[in-house]
Structures are given as structure tokens and as C-alpha cells.
Symmetry: C3
Subunit: 352 residues, 3 copies
């Protein structure tokens, strides 16, 4: 007798507008996760590395990395949203609402906010807004994401297309409250690794983060499992060897975290990712590739009500197997240069 | 002057019935171990993942995975029991007696309960009962294990054979007290990932756990060192390259933990392994292999005095490099099918 | 507009005698780091493994491994000292001054104590004394190190050579206070894995630590990132493939930690590294190599004021891809035997 208790994932026709998906598994974040995050990517931002540094400037203790929070919240959505996905198409309106500390438990709920069948009737785009909350129900992170999902049955009827209007930029007035009022006089720029503050960056400035980091299979697998992200393509060589690339595809979040960690060299004081305005995984990352990154400052903004910190809207670009001294990006407005993997538009926060 | 302070391990003639082996090294379990366990295998059972979930149903906090406890207790026995072992022949009467929480310190003592020389006089089978205890001396785990061990000297005299009578099934009345009285109304089946409870499973039901996980050398080495298991075959390519398989052999417990983590897909609420009735490592696992798993429900039992949870006796089968849609097992009663690595007979506990 | 905010590292002519370098990033040590350290190297010393064991003998809880502390303190110095280094030439006067416990935050300051240009005018030797402190400013570790650093400009003028007089041996009277007064009657030699105490070792005794451990790329990368050591040669296959060895070079500290972990087999009770008298990385370690180690007892000393513990000065030698039954070391006084990677002169502390 064969069971039907395993999760087959959702297909396009299984979704409806307004549908609420309450994802498994709630997850308590610990100092163990923080250590693994450090070991896997090598971030060096002082606020997230040191309880003493964080306390001195006004945090109760070192918060976890904003991207660790993102990956944990995101990972839970995979079994319900992207198990039958063909492609992760984009992100928007990502906002970190609160700092998360070890000991807090994260869970995620998603709402279906858009559905649009493709003309081939075989696939469609599903838009969701995912909300991560802590054990008290406080929102810690919210973001929108759209993915291309297979239909189970080409002839299944679907509703009229609904495409949500998503902002292409989070406004600084909408930032969350992750950063407490800082005791800026206690912010030690030597310990932070650089004297460059918000005021020292200029719109148009481009920063080559110089260093490169080669990724191993064990590293991305450990990371992705840590986030309880179960997408098959990251783990199963037996099937992927026969697949499109002949090998495992690395979870896109690993590329984001590596690029962010590399960005410390030149953005040492940009300790907080306040928002993800948009993001695109342009090309896949594989084990054996070496990741480089560069940043362009797109916009510079004060944050309403804050004299202690300011925001930089930056484009963080990750590139594989070539250094970023030439700032590789696009060959024409619609075409990314060879090697570009990630085009991420984020707001980062620095002391003023 | 050459020292003789290194541990040469015990040989068959070094053991006697009733011998007590107090194993090094006591080990405090931490949230770091829990994070590594997650990163290495990807388990998603809600009770072990979330302090908030665990507390809501009656635990003081999330307990560690039962198999993490098993590996930690087991690892300590290796230098005294299996350093000169040729084969790990079997397990029986494994019982998890208490939940273990981060901060507790585990140590292990083994008693020799059986000895039987083989007819070739070169090896013999050693049977031990190993008992793991916490820092207060409370038993957390007990199991029997038998291994084939080399003799140092073929002509060394040995005693009459003693073969212990081991039960082929732990009775649910003998289960430990690892699961507190559950507030079942607080058990959130959405967060747990499935609505399937004890009552929904039937004897004879077979569940293909679908997903496959490819193992890397770094992963099993990190796991096995974490358990302070020192068996040479897992770590030393320099010698193993000239050995039987030409490569490192993965600690069998890694295969068990991977299969158990995969079993979440279809057994989402089977959050506790109460007992190991028996187990056999049918074929070795190597780095590069992809592990799949399936489960058959062998027996369904109430647990004396418990209305909140029930037990399923299951056969958990791990298979390499082929999916489990065909439930690969045996080709005849004595012969395992190609690819089958693990045949494990366990009791798992689910909410009723 | 290209930014100049990235760290180019210091060149020889950037240093001056008496210069103080306050290194980024302060780092809180956690149980997560301890678990990773265990998973990556497999140490089994009871004091560092068990809170219960450590408390019983007089510690407030298990201290972190002395070498984990060393790596964390050392890692911070890399961006300021050795980013443009060609070679790590030596260590001296290394002293562990205090035990470090999870929750403490480490930071490092270095002072330039020597400078000597090489005759080629292209490089010079920089001598620093690095001091690791906890969040209260207490010194936890101090050591001297000298590295060969490139000049930016061959014609840049430099001062007269200053070569510090470094002791080739830390005297036991200079040991720190890392080990509390031990309740030696509570020290359980079974749990510690051996009955051999300080008094059981003799000068001239050589111990083959028997076991070998093969290293993977993911393992040394995770370790080195954990220490926030950013030296490019450890991580960047894209550039190193074209470099001197054609592959990534493993951080020397990984070799030290593996050798130390292997040394448990034969030095089970040498739970504390009190001092590093000197050390030399004789040959590089690469992923895929198997590390073996052996120890020679060079000196045996009482520690002033201590009846509970004694010190052994030992030579810890790490060798690759050959076992240490022949104690491989030097072929003549100036030439190391093939395969020898590490020649480390340390003081270890054992119960008397």
C-alpha cells in the first residue's frame, strides 16, 4: 500500500488570490546558526560580530545578520511555493522590520497576491508576499517574490490574470525599526574596520570589493539545509547530473550572502540591510566558482527621524571567475555581461 | 625513546564478560551542535527546530534530535570497542530514556554482555550494552551493539562463548520518558508541515520520501568529528586509498541521520524516535553518493498510559543512487537489492 | 567614479617602530564556534569538551580551546599585517594569559616591534607583538610574529633596521592564569581517556599520535572564515590556480589545530597550551592531504606556585601523507624531511 502523505508541492492551478499559506517549520535561531553563518560566508561587520560592540552603541546584544534572517524566513516558503517552480523571477518590497537575536523563533506566512498564466498554458507566474514573524507575532521581515510555476494539467482552467503593482523602491520612510537609536559616540571606527561613514559615500561611486571566494559543494549544502530550504536542485547530484546543467545549482541566497560578506571591504560600516528593492539572479552559481562583487551607490537618503544613521541605496553585483576591477555589469541595457550572477538593489544603513 | 601512551584499542582477547568500560570524553551538548546537525542533515521536525513550538506543547524547550544524542553517546565507545573492529554487526534494544537539552553533558559506559570467538580463531564477536547518561547520572539512552573484533594473537585462549539473548523488538511498555504529557490542542499541524497523525497511518503503508541528498566528504567528516568518533576509516584517505574500497567509508550514523531527515517528507509528525529495535548497515555509503529513503509501517501501538501520542514501528530503508518509488529492499529473503544501504527497525512517536 | 575605500593592506614602508594597529573586527565567541571547532578538528580533551568535567575540577565552565582563541586573535591581524605578506616567518613568546569562555568578546591590537629591509629592497621583515583582549580589556593572549612584507615602492626610504630580541623559550614563571587551582581529586582519568599524568612523561620521550586526518577544501575554508582571517590565498581558487602552487594554500593554523587534536592520542591529559615558544610552517598543507603528527618531550618543568599541574615543553610535528612511526623530522640540522609541515615548540600543562 503506497502512501500519499508526501508533499507533492503546489502547481499553478492550486493557487488563488488571497490564499494564505502557513509554512512549516518554525525555527529557533541560535548562536550556532550565527557561527555557521560566519564560517560559511565570513562576514566581518562589527555590529553582528560582537556583543560588546553592539551593546556599546545601543543594541541589547549583537543581532543576527539580516540575510541570515532572510534565508531562514525564505527557506520555509520553498515546499509550498517553489517546489514545482522553474524559475525564481524576482524580489521586491523587501523590508527588515526588526532586529532578530539568538533565541527568537521565526515562522513564515505567505499570501498569494498575483497570478498570471503564461500563453503556453503550461506555466504561470505566482506572486506572493511573505511575512516572517518572531515567537511573539512581531513582523521581522516582509518581501514580495514571484516565481514561474508549472501547471499540473495544461487544460486546468485558471482565473483572470492579477498582476500586483509592486514598488521598484522602498522609501526610507517605510524602513523598519531594526536599528535602535545609536550612541554614535561609542561607535568605534577602528574596530569597525574603516572610518568611512554615510557622508563619505557619493552617488555614482563604485567600489570593487577586491576579494574572491571559491565555493564548495559542502558549503552551500550546509548553508541551504541550515535554512531548511529543501529545493531539490541544490542537493541531488543523482538527478541534477542528468539535468540542465549536469550538476547541482547553488541556492541564490548563498550568492547574495557571499557578495554581502565580500562587500565589507569598502562598505565596512554598512552594517544593516534595511530593504531589498529588487533583485535578480542573472546566472547560476556552481560549486567551484569563485565569487567576486562590486557595489555602486545609486542613491543617498536621510532616514526620517534619524540623525544617527543614513541610508545608501546600492547595486550589489556578484560576478563569477573574474575580478571586478572593470565593474562588469551589462553589455547593453537588456543584456548582462558574461559572469554576472546577481543584480541586487538594496538599501544599506551606515552611521552618519 | 618511543612512548607507549597511545591507545592501541582493545582486541578480542582483552574483553571479558561483565567488563565495564568507562569511555572518554564527556561532552556538553550545545546549540552549536544542534545548528551543525541541522546544517549537515536538514531535519525539519518542528519539536526539535523550535523552542516556541516545543514549549507550547509541554517541553521546557526544544530537545536535541534523538539521533544526535545517539551519535554523541555512540561516538565515545569507538576507541574502546571498535578501533580494531572489522564490522559493525548489529544493534538491538535501543531505547531513548530522556529528552536531552542544550547544556547537558553526556557520557557513556559500556558493559560486555557477550563474547563469541569465530571458528577461524582470528576474530570474535563482542556484544556490549552501552548506556549514555547526563551530568546528573540519569540514563538518556541505552542500546546493545555487537561488532566483529580482531584477536591480537590467534593462539590466545578465550572463554566459552556467551551469546546474549536480545529482544528483536522493544515493547512500547518499555519506552522511556522523553516525551512529556503533550498539550495536544497546542500542536499546530500547519507549522508541523502535515495533518497526518498516528491514526492516519496503517500497517503495511509504504512511504517514498521522494527527496535525495548527495553527501560530500567534508560533511560526513565534520559530522563524525562532532560526535568525537575516531574510527580511522572515516577520516584517513592516505590509508583508505590502499584499503578495501579505495576511499573513506562514511560513518553509518550519517546514513541513519540523512534517512531520518528525509523521512520528514511523509512522516512530518513522527517527531520522536523512541526505540531502535534493530538495524543493519547493508552496504557502505561513500561521499558522492545520493541518499534516498523510504518507510514501511510494520506495527501500530498505543503506548501504555498515553492518550496523547501513539507509536509506529517502521522500517526505514536508505538507498543510494536510485529513487525509492519502487521501494527497493530485498531480492529474496536473504539478499538485499543493489543500492540498499540501511535496514533500520525503529519505533517513532506521533500525536494521536 | 571609482572608490578608494577598499583596504589595500599595508606595505613595508607603511610601518614604523612603535606603531599601534587596532584591528577590526571584535568577535564574541559562542558555543557555536566551539561546536564548529569540534566538527572541524575533532579535539577530545575533556576540560574543553565538558562543562561538567571542567566545573568538577574548578573551572566555572568549559573554556574554549586555547588554539581557537589563538586563531580568533590572530585572524584579526591579517588585514593589517599580512595582506601583502609573502611569508609568515615565525612565532615567539606566545602566552595564553586567561581562559576564555563562550560569551566573551575578543579583539586584538598589534605593536610594531621590529623592521628590517631585505637587501633586495623589495621586501622587508615586520615584527609585531599582538595582544588579544576580552571585553573587559583583560589580556587573554600575547604573541610575537614576524612576516616578510612587500614594499610598495622599491625606492621608498626606510629607517635603520630594528630586530627585537625575542626569547626562544617562555619561562614557566611567565605563564598566564588560564588554569584555576585544580581540585585534582575530582579529575577523572577514565573520562579524560588516559591515566598518564605529568610525572609519567620523560624528557626525550617521543609519541606517535598514530591517527591521520584528511583535509577537505570546505573544512579549511569554513575554519578560516570562522576566524575572520581574510588572506586571499586560502579562498580564491580563481587566482591561486595561476599561482605558485596551482591551488589554495591552507591557513597554517588549521595544520596546528589538526596536529593538536591528533595529539590527544598519547597526550590525553595535556589539556592546556600555556605557551608557544616558537613555530615554523615548514611546508604548505593542501586540501586532500592527510595530516599525521608526533610529539617529542623537550623539557619538563614545575610551574612556580603550582602543585596541581606541571608543564611539558614539547615539539609538535605535523607531517603529511606518511605516518609518524618513524618520527620524520630533519635529514640534517638545517633540512626538514619530506612531508614535514609544522615544527611547533609549545608548553602544555597536565595534572600532576
Amino acid at each position: 500500500m503506497t502512501s500519499s502523505k508526501t508533499n507533492p508541492g503546489n502547481f499553478f492551478e492550486d493557487y488563488h488570490i488571497g490564499q494564505i499559506l502557513k509554512h512549516a517549520t518554525p525555527r529557533t535561531v541560535t548562536e550556532g546558526d550565527v557561527a555557521l553563518y560566519m564560517g560559511l560566508y565570513g562576514p566581518r561587520f562589527a555590529v553582528q560580530s560582537s556583543d560588546a560592540f553592539a551593546k556599546a552603541i545601543g543594541y541589547p546584544r549583537a543581532p543576527i545578520d539580516d540575510l541570515l534572517m532572510f534565508h531562514l524566513v525564505f527557506g520555509k516558503t520553498v515546499p509550498d511555493i517553489s517546489l514545482n517552480a522553474i524559475a525564481n523571477l524576482g524580489y521586491a518590497e523587501g523590508r527588515v522590520m526588526r532586529a532578530v537575536y539568538p533565541g527568537e523563533t521565526l515562522s513564515t506566512v505567505s499570501e498569494v497576491i498575483g497570478l498570471k498564466e503564461n500563453s503556453n498554458k503550461e506555466t504561470g507566474t505566482v506572486y506572493v508576499r511573505s511575512t516572517g514573524r518572531n515567537q511573539d507575532g512581531d513582523i521581522v521581515l516582509q518581501y514580495c517574490r514571484w516565481v514561474m510555476v508549472r501547471k499540473r494539467d495544461k487544460s486546468a482552467p485558471v482565473g483572470d490574470p492579477v498582476v500586483p503593482k509592486l514598488k521598484d523602491r522602498v522609501d526610507p520612510s517605510e524602513f523598519g525599526a531594526a536599528v535602535p537609536a545609536l550612541k554614535t559616540e561609542a561607535y568605534d571606527y577602528d574596530l569597525a574596520g574603516s572610518a568611512s561613514r554615510w557622508g563619505d559615500y557619493e552617488v555614482g561611486e563604485r567600489i570593487d570589493h577586491v576579494d574572491g571566494m571559491t565555493l564548495e559543494e559542502a558549503e552551500h549544502q550546509i548553508a541551504t539545509r541550515l535554512y531548511q530550504n529543501t529545493a531539490k536542485v541544490h542537493f541531488n547530484l543523482h538527478t541534477e547530473a542528468k539535468g540542465r546543467f549536469g550538476k547541482r545549482i547553488v541556492y541564490g541566497g548563498v550568492c547574495i550572502s557571499l557578495a554581502r560578506a565580500l562587500s565589507f571591504n569598502g562598505m565596512n560600516n554598512a552594517f544593516h540591510v534595511a530593504a531589498i528593492n529588487g533583485g535578480r539572479h542573472v546566472a547560476p552559481l556552481f560549486a567551484g566558482d569563485t565569487v567576486y562583487a562590486w557595489t555602486e551607490v545609486l542613491e543617498k537618503a536621510e532616514i526620517p527621524g534619524r540623525k544617527d544613521v543614513g541610508a545608501l541605496r546600492t547595486r550589489l553585483v556578484a560576478v563569477k571567475n573574474q575580478d571586478c576591477s572593470g565593474f562588469p555589469y551589462k553589455t547593453d541595457p537588456k543584456t548582462y555581461a558574461d559572469g554576472v550572477m546577481l543584480d541586487l538593489d538594496i538599501w544599506v544603513v551606515l552611521p552618519r
